[in-house]
Amino acid sequence: MTHGTAAVAKVDSPRSPYARRKTTRGNYELYSWVFMRASGVVLLVLIFGHLFVNLMVGEGVHAIDFGFVAGKWASPMWQVWDLLMLWLAMIHGTNGVRTIINDYATRDVTRGVLKGLLYLAFAVVVVLGTLVIFTFDACPPGSPAELLPSFCTA
């Protein structure tokens, strides 16, 4: 009929697509936010402690070899330290990347695929890392003695 109606007819109902898709209330994001800060503070101690002991103390970075690592993991203190660092860094890092995916992926499918890959990577690293820390053998039989830590007797 008139120019006006023709123009209006072309435009979709302006309201429908903009409604927030669903209400998602709950404390999940609150805890996640607090966890990022709490784990950040603990990681600060763990990571810089780790760097200091590995790179600065004694001969520093030149002392790192199989024997050095094996020696550390023979002590329950360093096992717990590294385990905590692994788990906290992985949960913290994964949650951080989850945030970044939420912020940048515009389509639900992209978002889903990226998060799937992220959680898969998380599972692989955490399982492998935990396994190594607990099943690590400091004195594998049949290895040349000069490569092994001093307490290996075999």
Binding site: Y18, R20, R25, E29, D103
Partner: protein, 251 residues
């Protein structure tokens, strides 16, 4: 500022003029689905604002240029736009303050659907605003006189009473740009205005509403909103205060 008498002064009341180029983002869905840039060169004075230049274009050069404005004095919140990449009110931005030596880009604010040229559909923005229930909530009988409040209690939320709902903050937020699901700074600012009002009793309801996946926790503290707000509201600070209120409530 008072004019100083330094020779050779222009004739009384006369202000020096210069030419300025406005590079305007044009969009007309009846003509094309693509938005395009169009340059307009106008004669302007040192006291002119972006809005004056847009008026000159619309009135003297191209009547089809479409933008919103009402008060023209920074009160109604109609003319937020992206000027040289920053969200500003066209009526509060002097040309001389945004380097008129180079073309000044003028775009619609980001993240909201463009209707035509500089006009966006504000409905998603107001939908979030309505969700936080921007009105006084009380229980019990209506008092027969005014509800008293101490100056200290009033000062608690003074900053967030200044909002004019221009959407400059929400449309400057990268989290909002992604999918428009985030409540956005303006909704949180207006919730803050009631959450911290001693007369209001709907605070925990509003905290509950903003404790959503798309609520305050999506804020990444980029400060774009504080930088954009034409009212000088400390938007990011208000958001953090709401976060803190939620955390004290949860633990």
């Amino acid at each position: 500022m008072t004019a100083t008498l330094e020779a050779p002064a222009p004739a009384a009341g006369e202000i020096p003029s210069f030419t300025v180029t406005l590079r305007v983002r044009r969009f007309n869905p009846e003509v094309s689905d693509e938005a395009t840039w169009q340059d307009f060169t106008v004669e302007a004075h040192g006291t002119d604002r972006i809005l004056d230049a847009l008026h000159k274009i619309k009135w003297d050069e191209d009547g089809s240029l479409t933008f919103r404005r009402s008060c023209a004095h920074g009160v109604c919140g109609s003319d937020a736009m992206r000027i040289n990449g920053r969200n500003r009110l066209a009526c509060k931005t002097l040309l001389k303050d945004v380097n008129p030596d180079k073309p000044i880009t003028v775009e619609p604010i980001k993240g909201l659907p463009v209707v035509k040229d500089l006009v966006v559909d504000m409905e998603p923005f107001f939908a979030s605003y309505r969700e936080i229930m921007p009105f006084l909530i009380t229980t019990g009988n209506e008092p027969s006189k005014e509800r008293y409040q101490s100056p200290e209690d009033r000062a608690r939320f003074d900053d967030t009473t200044k909002c004019i709902l221009c959407a400059a903050c929400t449309s400057s937020c990268p989290v909002f740009w992604t999918d428009g699901q985030y409540f956005g700074p303006a909704a949180i600012v207006n919730a803050h205005r009631f959450i911290f009002d001693s007369r209001d009793e709907g605070g925990s309801q509003r905290l509950e509403i903003l404790n959503d996946k798309e609520g305050v926790w999506r804020c990444r503290t980029t400060f774009n909103c504080t930088e954009a707000c034409p009212r000088g509201i400390e938007v990011t600070k208000a958001i953090q205060e709401v976060k803190r209120a939620m955390i004290t409530r949860a633990f």
